[in-house]
């Protein structure tokens, strides 16, 4: 099945099974992500999209299976992997400024007792400029809008200077300007040879944004180039049941957007 012309796999997931309270939420996920692509992860609510990301990153324990990053176990490749969690997962009243948050992206490279210095601060400022948030550097994070918070999280991920990124719903609840800023940023990252795996909700934009799409509904439904997998049959299989489900889902998504 492997095409000799395809780029090397940067993330290899083998036989991954995860359960919450003994109830399985992911079954035997077996997939390899090619390097240098923008990859969308889609599926209905409760399909295990966030769980997949968290299990791959080792944030929740897996019942079985393993994950390799550039051929090595994740524990040895932490610095190659960046992460953008869901915005709601943190307390935005925490006493830190925008730049403090971005600096956290450099903590993986700093040892105990080592504090971020001038090099790290300059890097953080550059990352903030890349997401258009340079003017907000010294703001406390609770004063930011949803879109601005998402940009801060992206800047923090950029400061990690990783090769592979996992992003959990970065497009949810952001303004149109932020959405286009994020997609422009993702494309820049791709041009730099980085791989970005994005959990995504919006079926209308998915085919425009991603080179490859992974369809998930507790099991892996399909993974491949967008043109070959983003087809009614597979969408139906992912979202279940009736023929109209695709249009229904698209309408629902369109309806909830602002």
């Amino acid at each position: 099945m492997t095409d000799p012309n395809s780029p090397p796999a940067c993330v290899e997931i083998h036989d991954l099974t995860v359960s919450y309270d003994k109830k399985p939420v992911l079954w035997n996920i077996d997939v390899s992500f090619p390097e240098g692509e923008l990859i969308g992860v889609i599926g209905p609510n409760g399909a295990g999209k966030s769980t997949l990301i968290k299990a791959v990153l080792g944030l929740i324990p897996a019942d079985s299976g393993w994950v390799r990053v550039y051929g090595e176990p994740l524990a040895r490749q932490r610095r190659l992997v960046g992460y953008v969690p869901q915005r709601e997962s943190v307390d935005w009243d925490f006493p830190v400024t925008v730049r403090d948050v971005v600096l956290m992206g450099t903590y993986g490279r700093l040892g105990l007792l080592q504090r971020p210095g001038k090099i790290e601060r300059d890097l953080a400022d550059r990352c903030l400029a890349d997401v258009g948030m340079a003017d907000y550097r010294d703001r406390q994070i609770s004063n930011l809008s949803g879109g601005q918070r998402q940009r801060v999280f992206l800047a923090r991920a950029l400061a990690q200077q990783s090769k592979v990124y996992f992003m959990d719903e970065p497009f949810v609840g952001v303004d149109a300007a932020t959405e286009s800023a994020i997609i422009a940023l993702l494309r820049t990252m791709k041009r730099e040879g980085r791989t970005v795996i994005v959990v995504h909700h919006d079926l209308q934009t998915a085919p425009d944004y991603f080179d490859s799409i992974l369809m998930l509904n507790m099991r892996l439904v399909a993974f491949g180039p967008t043109a070959t997998v983003f087809i009614p049959e597979l969408l139906q299989k992912t979202y279940g049941g009736r023929l109209t489900i695709l249009t229904e889902a698209a309408e629902r998504v369109a309806g909830t957007r602002r």
């Binding site: 932490r78 307390d91 504090r115």
Partner: protein, 331 residues
């Protein structure tokens, strides 16, 4: 009063140094306890040390600081493990688990305490100081223990500051960096347990959590930077500790003399005067907590950014500006 602040008296010096060190320990750890929403854990551990203190006392039937420390540490550890076990293995939520453990351990502690006090062996004098604290009773030996533990806590917080900060803000992200977030949590809990144990003599088990929570909460109202929050919290905790020690160590006479002057100034009758006289000096715990509460209230009202009065004032300015602007437009 002047005699206190000259620190001539050796025992005053000892207690004041102890309050300062406790302020450093509890003030700094309290910030992380508050930011991680573990305030109730502090309270639970505070109550859970009582049986340990009693058992530690029963080893030698004297207030040997080392045995008290060991006993308190053991029961605090058991309590925190128990809270974790209940949470993981039942459908009960964390607040319930903590409530159960807190009251259960405190109950056992109270029973042991009554056993000790009815015993004929003696030496139990002053054990009930552990309820509300009596900082004046801190001995040179106690101070050495407090200083040693504080040194460990300060070193622990300084070395892992960055890791504590990032895992408190975003635990998932911290774990994705490869930080051992679970171990960081238990490390913080262990340090907090140690801070609680050394604070018992000074503020007592009942009000212990206030020394952890109130200074940190006050500091959070005043700053948006974590290092500054820690510094302010330490400052408030040490300030309340030393001033509280001063107030409670003033002899009953001095306090009554002070009351005489105040009440004469406001023109009360002699009868009321005698009624308001104090017979003994109050325990340190409540006095310290009272001072902490007053600093918190001050910050709550007057904090430059989040104060209630400040917000009202800013609103008033805005409303006035709008009104003036409208008035100008209509003219």
């Amino acid at each position: 009063m002047a005699r206190f602040w000259s620190f001539q008296d050796g025992s005053v010096r000892t207690s004041a140094a102890a309050m300062l060190l406790l302020g450093v320990s509890c003030g700094s750890l309290g910030c992380f306890v508050v930011l991680r929403r573990l305030s109730l854990v502090g309270d639970s551990l505070g109550h859970a040390v009582l049986p340990g203190v009693c058992l530690g006392f029963m080893v030698t039937w004297s207030k040997n600081p080392l045995w008290l420390f060991v006993g308190a540490t053991v029961t605090a550890t058991i309590a925190s493990l128990l809270i974790g076990t209940i949470q993981r293995n039942t459908r009960l939520k964390p607040d319930v688990a903590m409530g159960l453990v807190l009251s259960g351990f405190f109950g056992v502690g109270l029973m042991l305490l009554s056993l000790i006090q009815n015993d004929s062996r003696g030496g139990q004098g002053g054990l009930n100081q552990f309820f509300f604290g009596q900082a004046a009773a801190i001995s040179a030996k106690d101070l050495m223990l407090i200083a040693g533990v504080t040194a460990v806590i300060v070193a622990g917080v300084v070395v892992t500051f960055k890791e504590l900060a990032v895992s408190s803000f975003d635990e998932g992200f911290a774990a994705s960096l490869g930080l051992p977030t679970r171990r960081i949590h238990y490390f913080l809990m262990a340090l907090t347990g140690m801070a609680i144990v050394i604070s018992i003599q000074a503020v007592g088990v009942v009000l212990l959590s206030a020394l952890l929570i109130t200074p940190a909460a006050t500091a959070l109202l005043l700053t948006d930077k974590l290092p500054r929050m820690v510094m302010l919290s330490v400052l408030f905790a040490a300030f309340a500790g030393i001033v509280g020690l001063n107030v409670s160590s003033l002899s009953a006479e001095v306090l009554n003399g002070f009351l005489d002057v105040v009440l004469t100034q406001v023109g009360r009758s002699g009868l009321e005067l005698s009624a308001s006289r104090m017979s003994t000096s109050p325990p340190t715990g409540p006095v310290v907590v009272l001072i902490l509460a007053m600093t918190f209230l001050t910050a709550l009202v007057f904090s430059p950014r989040y104060g209630v009065a400040t917000k009202l004032f800013r609103r008033w300015i805005r409303v006035r500006a709008v009104r003036n602007g409208m008035g100008g437009a209509s003219e």
